[in-house]
């Protein structure tokens, strides 16, 4: 063994010792209850999915019924019966009873560069209000620090889109 080999071995030995001490000295923060809750929500959602697939025939029957009703209504109107002669309400006079509870989905930053969404899960989680501008969202008028949001998680576990819920923790507490 040459002097250089010996020095290299010693140097690598020191390096490995240093790295292992760094790993052992790395403190892992305690489990964040919010993150664990979000995971369990995702777990429950994944467990529910087979049940919803099993009940697919039920939904197909409902969808078929709705299509039949819609078709019948269209024929009824086209033949001049019933609704065609009824006075139509002024659209401008119609006001929503209340504001919608949920905002629209917006694309998660960087998600457009990800593979197309094949399937995913909707996970409700609490987001810091301060994070919202970076997502392209305006925080609600209230002084809530935490906002409930639905995050669409793609098949690869990466977020694709987010929408805010109108009810916040602070509001619930009030």
């Amino acid at each position: 063994m040459t002097q250089k080999d010996w020095e290299n071995d010693r140097l690598h030995g020191d390096l490995v010792d240093l790295l292992q001490r760094i790993d052992r000295g790395t403190k892992v923060p305690p489990v964040d209850p919010a993150r664990e809750a979000a995971l369990l929500t995702a777990f429950d959602a994944a467990r529910e999915r087979p049940r919803s697939l099993a009940g697919r025939s039920h939904w197909l029957a409902i969808a078929a019924t709705l299509i039949l009703i819609g078709g019948a209504a269209a024929i009824w109107i086209a033949t001049g019966g019933g609704f065609a002669s009824a006075p139509r309400p002024d659209a401008s006079a119609i006001a929503p009873a209340s504001e919608p509870d949920e905002s629209e989905f917006v694309v998660w930053p960087g998600a457009s560069a990800l593979p197309p969404l094949d399937n995913g899960q909707l996970v409700r989680m609490d987001l810091p209000a301060a994070l919202l501008p970076s997502l392209g969202l305006f925080p609600p008028a209230s002084d809530a620090t935490v906002i409930s949001a639905d995050v669409l998680i793609g098949q690869d576990g990466l977020a694709r889109a987010v929408r805010l819920m109108s009810i916040t923790h602070n509001e619930v507490q009030q």
């Binding site: 020095e7 010693r10 140097l11 690598h12 020191d14 390096l15 490995v16 010792d17 240093l18 790295l19 292992q20 760094i22 790993d23 000295g25 790395t26 892992v28 923060p29 489990v31 964040d32 993150r35 664990e36 979000a38 995971l39 369990l40 995702a42 777990f43 429950d44 994944a46 467990r47 960087g110 899960q121 996970v123 998680i153 098949q155 690869d156 576990g157 990466l158």
Partner: protein
């Protein structure tokens, strides 16, 4: 030895695949530190490490049934998933956030502890930075073999390459890291080997 009160990782994973919520919680709490440390060493960022942990366990929900016992350990399998997520995180250039994030944590520790902590935190931050700056194929080998103390065989399974490739990447990674330490911040050098030990 696994028993009813302390099931093995493999047993927990099998139960997760059958939809057992408690098994999922148990495996998450048991193996979260392993995934976290790997992601932290790879990214140099606590924030990125937290995100990778979350993404890995979301992926586990879907993929628990795909684990093949005997092909790798559960930890190795989880780190294989982590590796993909870390790469995506790095591609999204979260590392620009990460180093300052590390510095902030170091400063917090300094504020709370005496001068000894200052030196240790400076060393830690500097070494982490050097590791995070290694080319990724060397970095993941050094992290697995030297920091996480995986065997060459287990590392090869995680990295999906030959054992010989692990050896050569490790040798090259260590040489790069040692060279950068010798030329790096003074806190990392000693007269003997050029490294802090």
């Amino acid at each position: 030895m696994a028993d009813r009160e302390h099931p093995s990782d493999e047993e927990l994973l099998a139960r997760i695949a059958r939809g057992d919520r408690e098994a999922f919680t148990a495996l998450y709490r048991r193996r979260r530190p392993d995934v976290y440390r790997f992601a932290l060493h790879m990214s140099g960022s606590h924030a990125a490490a937290e995100d990778v942990v979350q993404e890995v366990f979301i992926a586990l929900i879907e993929q628990a049934g795909r684990y093949v016992p005997g092909r790798s350990t559960v930890v190795g399998w989880l780190l294989g998933i982590s590796r993909n997520h870390v790469r995506r995180v790095l591609q999204r250039q979260w590392r620009t956030v990460s180093l300052s994030d590390e510095s902030v944590r170091a400063k917090e520790a300094i504020d709370a502890d005496p001068l000894l902590a200052l030196a240790r935190q400076e060393d830690l931050v500097a070494v982490r930075r050097l590791i995070a700056d290694l080319p990724i194929r060397y970095r993941e080998t050094v992290v697995l073999c030297d920091l996480r103390e995986f065997s060459y065989d287990d590392a090869a399974t995680v990295l999906q390459c030959a054992v010989g490739t692990v050896r050569s990447r490790l040798h090259r990674g260590r040489a790069l890291l040692a060279s950068r330490m010798r030329n790096g911040p003074s806190v990392l050098r000693t007269p003997a080997t050029g490294l802090i030990v």
